[in-house]
């Protein structure tokens, strides 16, 4: 579904991504793993058009995405739920969701909003509340709900467990599995290596702006190198 070849990107003169190759198959959950500052968020920004890559190609369902154009990414169904949520704090929950479907998914907005509210019943109670006044977990639900309003084919979740309580983290991962079972392809970008690989089909480990390890998640879980550096075994 997504094929990234030789992607390079950075800010100013600093190169962050040094040639990333990555493939995501339709229908699965791919995990992009790595600790803080290795370039995961820059990778997301580059493929979803928030920044213009320096080099490389991004193919989505076989056609090439223009770099640095977030609307083009949304139009084909590549949707990102960013790290730090970036919901609209001054808007109500309903308006946040409506804006999620203001470009792609506009014709089915009322149907989609109902679906999102079924997935996140908590949001239904908060529909007319300003989004910025909700708890962190509720804001994360809203961020994902807003992403779902865009009728994604590939949903990128950047650190969805960040700042959530352990109980909520578990709920979040269950939700990701549930969304995937409904047919949504997911790219999960996480620091939580163990939990992510448990639900993922493929895994990529990023270090210093390059992919150092990749493969099926079961294989990766058994990989001694990964166990040593990330799982504390």
């Amino acid at each position: 579904m997504l094929e990234v070849r030789g992607l390079r990107a950075g800010y100013g003169h600093v190169e962050v991504l040094r040639g990333i190759d990555l493939t995501i198959d339709e229908g699965g959950i791919a995990a992009l793993l790595g600790s803080n500052g290795v370039g995961k968020t820059t990778f997301n920004a580059a493929i979803s058009g928030l920044i213009k890559p320096w080099a490389g190609t991004v193919l989505f369902e076989g056609s090439r995405l223009p770099g640095g154009n977030s609307q083009a990414a949304i139009d084909v169904g590549l949707v990102q739920v960013p790290e730090g949520r970036h919901i609209f704090p001054n808007l109500t929950v309903r308006d946040n969701l409506l804006l999620g479907g203001c470009r792609r998914g506009k014709t089915n907005r009322s149907v989609n909003i109902e679906k999102v509210l079924e997935t996140f019943p908590r949001l239904r109670e908060r529909l007319t509340q300003k989004a910025g006044t909700m708890s962190g977990g509720e804001q994360q639900m809203l961020a994902i709900g807003r992403g779902l309003m865009t009728e994604p084919k590939l949903l990128i979740l950047d650190e969805p467990s960040l700042g959530l309580s352990p109980l909520l983290v578990e709920e979040m991962f269950e939700l990701i599995v549930a969304l995937n079972k409904q047919g949504l392809t997911i790219l999960l970008v996480e620091q939580n290596v163990h939990l992510s690989l448990e639900i993922a089909t493929q895994g990529y480990v990023m270090e210093n702006g390059a992919i150092t390890l990749s493969g099926l998640s079961e294989t990766l879980l058994d990989n001694p190198e990964l166990q040593k550096s990330y799982l504390g075994v």
């Binding site: 928030l50 949304i74 990102q80 970036h86 609209f88 704090p89 001054n90 808007l91 409506l98 804006l99």
Partner: protein, 289 residues
């Protein structure tokens, strides 16, 4: 002081206040919502007033008929100015926008001085001096129409911001630019649209203002400071607040003029401004964030 002069002066102040509110409504969108400090607001009002004036002088088009022509034209001017001049010249930094719009206002006002000279011009419509008596106050028809116009415009803007995607996008953009990009909002376009709509509302203000007012190249200057005062007083980004703020300032100015004399009447405006902000720093209808 007896109520025989107080009440008419309050009513007169209300109608003047409605004009202030009209001018401030566009600024509420540009400054209150998007936090673009637009010092060219007064100069653009002047441009719109000249537009109304020349449409009347050259083609005999009534200022109220100009409502169909001037606001759309002003919208286009605002859109293009924001997209081609302000954004490019300010390189995306807010403090530069302040300087760019200040510079724009100087250029526009001096061009007007050069072409139109500094004479004041009026349109003499048949109804311009007709008055209607309300509670002992003789109010000119144009001012009553402007009052209604201010109410309708504030209501329409509020509805637009609450109920349309563009309105939601403008509010979203004000706080969360990255989030806006991620849902596919065309950021430069929406910025320019807001600026265009804000300037378009100035076009409405000009059409409603002209029958009871005048135009000269410096006419906008008197309005800019009051407009900023009204926006902050009413609460940043609140259209209802701008309406009430405008009315309060109009009334305070009129009553202050009555008590302290015409030239000191404006002192009251800023005294009330300081007082209200002391007790409600977020403005009358503003939200704490």
């Amino acid at each position: 002081m007896n109520s025989a002069i107080l009440l008419p002066s309050i009513l007169n102040g209300t109608t003047t206040g409605a004009l202030y509110a009209l001018v401030a409504l566009g600024l509420t969108l540009i400054y209150g919502v998007l936090h673009i400090i637009n010092f060219a607001h007064g100069a653009l009002l002047m441009v719109a007033l000249y537009g109304v004036y020349f449409l009347y002088k050259l083609f005999g088009i009534d200022p109220y008929v100009s409502l169909l022509i001037v606001p759309p034209l002003m919208f286009c001017i605002g859109y293009v100015l924001q997209r081609l001049v302000i954004t490019r010249a300010s390189h995306g930094r807010d403090e530069n926008i302040l300087l760019v719009t200040l510079g724009l206002s100087i250029v526009i006002e001096n061009l007007a001085l050069f072409f139109f000279k500094s004479d004041t011009q009026v349109v003499d419509t048949p109804y311009g001096f007709e008055v209607v008596e309300i509670f002992g106050a003789f109010l000119p028809y144009p001012k009553i129409i402007a009052f209604v116009g201010a109410l309708v415009t504030a209501g329409a803007l509020w509805l637009f911001m609450e109920r349309t995607d563009l309105g939601r996008s403008i509010r979203a953009l004000a706080k969360e630019r990255k989030g806006a990009q991620l849902v596919g909002i065309n950021v430069p376009h929406v910025f320019a649209m807001s600026f265009g709509i804000g300037v378009g509302v100035l076009g409405i203000a000009a059409c409603l203002l002209m029958p009871s007012y005048y135009v000269s190249p410096q006419v906008g200057q008197g309005f800019v400071l009051i407009a900023f005062t009204v926006v902050v007083l009413g609460g940043m980004g609140s259209f209802g607040g701008a309406l009430i703020g405008g009315l309060i300032i109009g009334v305070v100015e009129a009553v202050g003029g009555l008590v302290l004399g015409e030239s000191l009447g404006q002192i009251g405006i800023f005294a009330v401004f300081i007082l209200i902000l002391l007790f409600r720093p977020q403005g009358l209808l503003g939200h704490k964030v």
